[in-house]
Subunit: 340 residues, 2 copies
């Protein structure tokens, strides 16, 4: 099997978009009624999926995508805690409908109803709902719900602990993923995402979070931000900060995906990071949607780069399937329950 650990529902039915617009209109004019939950047919949902993710997934020979709401539109910085909660529920429920339509292909990871300066309580509850009621296998945790002002405590702070406790209890990992940027200094997919990935890693390196939570697991997407390229810097900083070797200190709990859109980047990732810490991912349909004129293939067709590594059968199995089943134990349980 080929499991893509990183896909977002970037194209959604119009009623879902209309719901979001109605939410935003009500933020400007609170006299407007609370918008009703978006109503849409299965066909409307199929339309977006089949023309995009499912089409490309088939073309590329993937079998399954770990699927979450569109990252850049999570927008926890828009409105208040209730806005974020209502929007997260709508987005997650839509993911569940995709799962119902394509149970062999898409499995859910949830958006969290975070809010700048708020507690993680709503997120704890929504995670529980998504995992226990909707059958989701993970979540996307936003380290900066302010949308580019970076005023949340580091991920090692006790602020996050109630959420981590729930993650461990439910046996689900989190992908670290910021949303759109409302800071004109940051381009979302070109800079903000990569900065957040790198920053998360450095926060884990500085802290001792995994002493408190030895079973906590994080996927740092976009190939781990800048981390593999600067692996020597991070090994050196761990040394200067008197931390254990990175393999012991953080790499029992951190995984990088393969969302790196050229061969030399993938080569480097596999050169410096242990195979057991890499999960196949493409973020298709996502940040970069064009065709690379140098190769004639989609930039985000990351399977081509991984296949070009000529890995052993065992390594290939781990990258494409085994590691995902290990990091997402509920995915593994689901697959086993359907005989896979």
């Amino acid at each position: 099997m080929i499991i893509d650990c990183h896909g977002h529902q970037t194209i959604v039915p119009q009623p879902h978009l209309d719901y979001r617009e109605a939410q935003k209109a009500r933020l400007k004019d609170p006299s407007l009624p609370v918008p009703p939950r978006p109503d849409m047919s299965d066909d409307e949902i199929r339309e977006g999926i089949e023309a995009n993710q499912l089409k490309l997934l088939k073309e590329r020979g993937h079998d399954m995508t770990i699927f979450s709401p569109r990252a850049s539109r999570m927008e926890p910085h828009v409105g208040d805690a209730q806005t974020s909660l209502d929007w997260s529920v709508a987005c997650n429920d839509l993911i569940r409908r995709v799962m119902d339509l394509y149970p062999d292909t898409f499995i859910g990871v949830c958006q969290l109803p975070q809010t700048p300066g708020g507690t993680m309580e709503n997120s704890v509850q929504e995670l529980e709902r998504c995992v226990t009621e909707l059958g989701f296998v993970g979540c996307n945790l936003n380290p900066d719900p302010s949308g580019g002002h970076w005023n949340s405590p580091p991920l090692t702070d006790r602020y996050w602990y109630p959420f981590y406790e729930k993650m461990v209890e439910l046996q689900v990992p989190a992908m670290i993923h910021v949303s759109g940027s409302c800071n004109p200094a940051f381009h979302a997919t070109g800079s903000y995402y990569i900065a957040a990935d790198t920053n998360a890693f450095m926060q884990f390196l500085q802290g001792d979070l995994f002493k408190d939570f030895p079973d906590l697991k994080f996927i740092i997407p976009h190939g781990g931000g800048a981390v593999p390229y600067h692996w020597g810097r991070y090994r050196g900083l761990a040394d200067m900060l008197k931390k254990p070797d990175l393999a012991e200190h953080v790499m029992k709990n951190i995984y990088f995906d393969t969302c790196v859109y050229h061969q030399p980047g993938i080569d480097l990732l596999f050169d410096v990071i242990d195979i057991k810490n890499i999960l196949f991912g493409s973020e298709m349909v996502g940040a970069v949607r064009g065709i690379d004129p140098q190769t004639g293939h989609y930039f985000d067709d990351t399977r081509r780069y991984v296949d070009a590594l000529n890995l052993s059968d065992e390594d290939k199995y781990n990258i494409y399937e085994g590691n995902a089943r290990r990091v997402y134990p509920r995915l593994d349980a689901y697959l086993k329950s359907v005989g896979k």
Copy 2:
């Protein structure tokens, strides 16, 4: 010759540190007198340089360092515009004294008296003073003088134009370099620096600054942040944003240094970035000061990684000397004036 384009005066005489402390004390208690400029002997200056930068430079066989005040202590977020101006003048004057003591070895690049929310006027004046009176050949431009709150306009904004006009007039490049972080979410050398590097590149990619300033030159340090590792992503984003090919769009004006502290990272840098856009640098003595247990050599001894590439003589000349002379025309003029 081997010219290191990226060195900071990380170890300074005690009177210089005392001056800074007196500045900070006066910020807390404005009834204190304005501290007098620090007074120190040549021997005090020699002591720090000879035991550190000069010692390592000789051991590693470098000839020259393009030298600037300690980046993490520029701290434009501390105090007001006058604090920043006084501190910058003190730091730059100290660099000039190092140049006087070691005219064959160190040449200055200045700290700028930026201040969060302020204009670039003081920086224009200090740049002019450092270049025309002190013989400096460039500057360190801080894209986020807030120290981690990222509230400055993008580097393509007209806010920066008066400063760029002066840079072009004086024929000096700028290294993009943030200072210490006052945001607990960001570790300075482990995350903030790398985020700022990546962000600067993406801002240039999004804008069209080099149409307005075809002669403007920037060095993006720390190997260009995350950019070379994600080179496919940036090529793809340029395509999505309907920008020209990166070679045309930004790479006539942007240079990366070699401050990447392991062999696979340097290999990648040279694999994807044109030799003409790479300047040798180590940032010694800087972010990572230890010895890599995997190699037995200093992490930041970047010459070893570059030498291991087995470049042609011409490429070697350009990386170690030629590119620096081209990007810093005043360095070239200075070297020619002393027969080099």
